[in-house]
């Protein structure tokens, strides 16, 4: 288990590093799924797939089935992913336009999307596109993905600067989509959202972290439903 070395204040134990968050999120990805990974920690999931799991990666700009990126400074501008990086050409890829790309998304054909978040509410509301005080933000494909993917997983650090909670009772930031998040994987916890009952269920914690430790950094009320296990 890789853990972060940055100071955690009153943390009872180290938090996971970004790679470990990605690795845990990657564990739930099912072989053969069509998957869209957001930038940052979500994109890192591709490096930590369990053995035998192959995914069909989709990017909004019109590509399915890409894999490794070209080396920095190399790559073809006509073979880009939605993050502006340049994948390598691999067999089985498909290129298409934005109409088709968003028909795939909006039509509910993306099995899983892994995204980052600014805030997630107890009922699964997601805010990840604008910081209100900046006055301008970028939506891109985030609203389409969040509202329409079959499964929405958030992979992020548990708190913002100064331990400000990002997992909240109600989002104060403008929403990306209401009631869309299924699971949150953070540097201290894995939380399932039961959107029917509106409950946040703590399922896993980082080594050395208790339910109370996680709740202390979470504004939303967490519940226990089944055993809490250690993130592995």
């Amino acid at each position: 288990m890789n853990t972060s070395t940055k100071p955690g204040g009153n943390d009872p134990a180290p938090r996971l590093d970004r790679a470990a968050i990605a690795k845990r999120a990657a564990r739930d990805l099912i072989d053969g799924s069509t998957v869209n990974l957001g930038i940052g920690i979500p994109a890192m999931c591709a490096d930590f797939l369990p053995d035998g799991v192959e995914l069909l990666y989709h990017a909004e700009n019109g590509i399915l089935g890409f894999k490794e990126l070209s080396a920095p400074g190399e790559g073809d501008p006509n073979l880009m992913d939605a993050g502006g990086s340049f994948p390598k050409l691999v067999p089985g890829m498909a290129f298409f336009d934005s109409v088709e790309s968003f028909s795939l998304i909006r039509g509910g054909h993306i099995d899983v999307t892994v995204l980052g978040a600014l805030q997630v509410s107890r009922t699964g509301d997601l805010a990840n596109w604008i910081i209100p005080k900046r006055g301008i933000g970028s939506i891109g494909g985030a609203m389409d993905l969040a509202a329409n993917a079959k499964r929405v997983v958030i992979a992020m650090e548990h708190t913002a600067r100064g331990n400000t909670p990002k997992i909240v009772e109600e989002c104060t930031f403008p929403l990306t989509a209401p009631g869309c998040v299924d699971e949150i994987v953070t540097d201290i916890a894995v939380i399932k959202i039961d959107r029917v009952s509106g409950r946040m269920i703590l399922r896993e914690t980082a080594p050395g972290w208790s339910f109370e430790d996680v709740q202390a950094l979470t504004e939303a009320t967490l519940v226990v439903d089944g055993e809490i296990v250690e993130i592995s």
């Binding site: 400074g73 501008p77 934005s98 301008i136 939506i139 389409d144 509202a147």
Partner: protein
């Protein structure tokens, strides 16, 4: 061999955009980044100097400050040029600012200084609105944006127990697009991920102008690979051989 003899080929990028008036609405194709961007047409429009433009793009104006979608060794060119030059008064797009504000992008500068209206639309809604304009659909319902700021003021309606927003078609006076290859009739072929917004924009503008790497005779594009029909294309300009700009 019979060939539809309409001549759509412009001799220069300047000629191709020469009739664009101040106040025009202009779609700019591609996704964001160098691939599929009609960079030479954009530069010609900047050089033309007309103002009060409304730009319609996707990822817009983030390459110059972040390098997004550009090879490392080149200075990126993006839609921010029309805000730096003061030619644009408004942009409709999905992604107008990068994560960082250091340095500020040209669009964010213009926004903060009150020089530009920025209309931010979810990407799937944006491309579907453009496609709708070309396809004779004046409006459609989408689940995207319900419960968010983009839903404000829009009609909400339930179908089968889920709530959707009514979104309307989005057309423009001109579309500047980029393709790999055109035949002399105006059939277009794209390459890789350079399709993006280009094919739909070609259908949604009164005048569609395409920047291509190569013009071939009729028959020089495989009929299975015609991705924009010649009916949609008004003007074609070929880039200079060996142009270092991607």
């Amino acid at each position: 061999m019979t060939i539809v003899p309409i001549n759509k080929i412009s001799n220069s990028f300047a000629d191709a955009v020469a009739d664009i008036p101040s106040g025009a609405s202009i779609m700019i194709g591609g996704f964001g980044g160098a691939g599929g961007q009609p960079t030479r047409l954009m530069m010609a429009l900047r050089d033309l100097g007309v103002g009060d433009l409304t730009i319609i793009g996707n990822v817009a104006g983030i390459s110059k400050t972040t390098g997004y979608g550009w090879p490392y060794h080149l200075d990126p060119v993006d839609q921010g040029m029309f805000f730096e030059s003061g030619q644009a008064k408004k942009i409709t797009c999905s992604f107008p600012v990068p994560g960082t504000t250091n340095p500020l992008s040209e669009i964010e500068k213009a926004f903060r200084e009150g020089r530009a209206e920025v209309d931010i639309v979810p990407q799937g809604t944006l491309i579907e609105r453009i496609r709708a304009a070309g396809a004779g659909v004046p409006a459609f319902y989408t689940p995207t944006g319900v419960g968010t700021p983009v839903a404000e003021g829009k009609e909400h309606r339930d179908f089968d127990g889920r709530t959707y927003l009514l979104e309307t078609a989005l057309s423009a006076d001109y579309a500047l697009i980029r393709a790999q290859k055109a035949d002399t009739r105006g059939n277009l072929q794209y390459i890789g991920t350079s399709r993006a917004f280009n094919p739909a924009m070609a259908t949604a503008a009164t005048i569609t102008i395409v920047e291509v790497d190569e013009i071939v005779e009729v028959g020089g594009i495989d009929p299975e690979r015609v991705e924009t029909l010649s009916t949609y294309v008004n003007r074609i300009v070929q880039r200079e051989a060996g142009d270092p700009m991607p």
